[in-house]
Amino acid sequence: MLSVHDDARASDRPRIAIAATVYQQELVLRAVALDLANDPQWQALVHYDARLLGSTRSQAEAKRFFTAPSGQTDPAAELAATIAAFFELLPRAGEDDAPQCMFVARFAWLDAVLGFDPERLPRLACPNFERWRAGIGGRRLTLVFPEAFISSPASMFGHTLLRLDDGEERPELLGYAIDFSGEMGDDGVAEYLVKGFTGFYPGFFAVGPWYEKLERYADWENRDLWEYPLDLDPAEVEFIVKHLWELRGISFPYYFLDENCSYQLLGLLEVARPDARLRDEFPITVIPVDTVRALAAAGWVRDARYRPSPATKLRVDAAALSAPHRRLAREIARGLVAPGSEEVAALAPRERAIVLSVAYEALRFDFLSRTGDDAEARRRSRSILVARSQVGREVKGDPLAGSVPVPRLPPEQGHGTARVSLTGGWRDGDGYLEAGFRGALHDFMDPQDGHPRSSQVQVLDTRVRFIPESTHVRLEQLTVLDIVSLPPQSEFFRRVAWKASTGLSTRLVRESPRPAHRGFDPEPVFRTNGGAGLAFELGGRALAYGFGDATLDAGRALENDVSFGPGATAGVYVDLFADVARTHFFGGITRFAVGDRTTWIRGGIEQRVSVGRRTALQFRGQVNRQDGDEWYEAGMAASFYF
């Protein structure tokens, strides 16, 4: 017995189908004549990968994204099948919408190019799409860049997402966030890294309330946000939103390095301007800030807006207080002084408003840093806010509104992600020439503007040295990953500084007595180092730190092939003339106690001078003492960022 579905189809077919088939063939022929399958617009809509040489393949993984069985690899077949599918009046099995209402952007474009005759190709009403479309609105898109957050591997290089606004009438906070992210489930960091690098995770586009994203990035992760309104006209935004509907529930492979959030976001934007070919600039890796640069270079970005996180605001607002007021705010936050006390009441109204506001900011920040509920914190926060509201009779508005100055440079104008350097120097009596390449991203001796103030992330820092005297070339260093976090301590911020690094390094090893030899030989070791400590800001121009750490070296030149031990490092970075020059004084001691045993003490100075935006000169000098003997090294380098 035929099901209702088949029965209806069969009886409909004689009357409607023939006419449809004829017109359908006509449309397909016209599409072929115009070579629409190879049109950049079609390629962008079906996400055919423009990077693979030879064969074409769509990056979308879900079968339902294609109307043709061979749609993933055959743009022409997909185009013909899509046109045919538009004639279907009802949803396919498992779908909520007929193909016309699923592929609204494809329909809109093909209609514009081929001019569908509504008599011969009935236009369906698409209530699901229309309702969704009316709900999220959308006349303006803004690219949002939360700055790098080194506590999470996924966020270490920043992130990009979009916000959809509906013009002047709807406040930003009621807008919708659009982003692409991988479904990682509950995987831990190690699994995340492995699966993320190999494209094991599926990624999806998602739309949600903007305020949820804002709270997560700004409040929970303490990240400053940069917002870039995109220079798209309403019709282009409309088309992007239509395409977003087509991407509902469609998975793409998520590759941490290249086809990640920022890459796919560019893919979404490219459907509005397929000739822009933004992603062509990213053959290997995609670092989020570089996609912002690409959009700026292509003229999509009008200007940058800065939104400080509550943590940044607290830091600035607290620093602006006089010392007694700062102490008072801290004590109110800790519940040592009641907001309604005489001490607070004695303040002038404006001071009182500010002190109470800072106290609340501090309390909230402190609480967000801990997990769990706290009845005492709730009680305290309410009493602070009640007191603050009472000052409203005397002080109108918020004296602290807009208190955070905009950083000198937005992220896309900071130094480039990759760095090439040439060094000439001298170590332990031997002169050397060194060429270096660092894949990403930033260290404390690079120009600081446009980058997070207190962290350093380096990936694939490679140095090759040539020693003329012995015509010897060696791989001096290949740092796989090096991360340092130096959050400055203050009364309101008590965070631990930490560092972790691993990679190939060079260690000077004392060789067994060889009469002609000077005493030390540089040998390769695989070095892993980790530590914790504290950092302090001094007078706004200097950042001092101290670490306790442990170092593990592995290498054949070492006794027992291994060397491990605790150590300590300390230093201070001093800034001169804004970001033009930075000096670093440092010292350290490592007591290798296991395996190859030795004590290595060092101290030195580094100096960087910026020359324009893309170039810097560096000097480094270091004194070392090991096993009772000393050696010295010094070098001058020129670095180029791109």
């Binding site: 309330p209 806010l385 409203g392």
Partner: protein, 164 residues
């Protein structure tokens, strides 16, 4: 059944499926039912006080709308949207109300369709009555909204904004 009623029946059956299987919360749809809404009371169970939230995970792996594009809040009626917004932004809203100014408060006022000319007075009203809106440390979002309703009804100028 003849051909056309079969088609109608089929379309209706599909619509019912769409209503039933909506993204986001299911089941507690409010009386002015929009498909897929159901945010209403569910979101704020267990949360109280000038709120502090439990920290979430730190990886970008958390997607807020797990599989796909949300139907959710898009289809909610005004009341549910206000409730959802208030609950999700509770502490920011409280802080703004205490200060008498701020982005969250402005967005909240726009959800109440407060006219631009009335904005400043609305801000002052909530600031002056902060202790009434948040009578205790465990005031919930729903309770605050109820208190606000009462406040608006009692004010001649703002009575028009009070929602039933």
């Amino acid at each position: 059944m003849n051909r056309s009623s079969r088609s109608v029946a089929r379309v209706l059956a599909i619509l019912l499926v769409v209503v039933g299987v909506s993204f986001g919360a299911v089941g507690t749809a409010t009386a002015d039912d929009d498909i897929g809404c159901g945010v209403g009371t569910m979101v704020f169970e267990g949360k109280s006080g000038v709120g502090f939230k439990i920290l979430g995970s730190f990886t970008n792996g958390i997607t807020f709308q797990s599989i796909s594009i949300t139907f959710g809040l898009v289809n909610c009626g005004k009341s549910d949207t206000i409730t959802a917004f208030t609950g999700a932004n509770f502490d920011q809203l409280a802080a703004n109300m205490a200060t008498g100014e701020g982005e969250t408060l402005a967005a909240f006022a726009s959800l109440y369709d407060v006219a631009p000319a009335d904005q400043a007075v609305f801000n002052s009203l909530v600031q002056d009555n902060f202790a009434v809106l948040f009578p205790s440390a465990t005031t919930t979002a729903g309770e605050m909204l109820t208190n606000l309703q009462q406040l608006l009804r009692e004010d001649a100028r703002f009575r028009v904004y009070a929602r039933s």
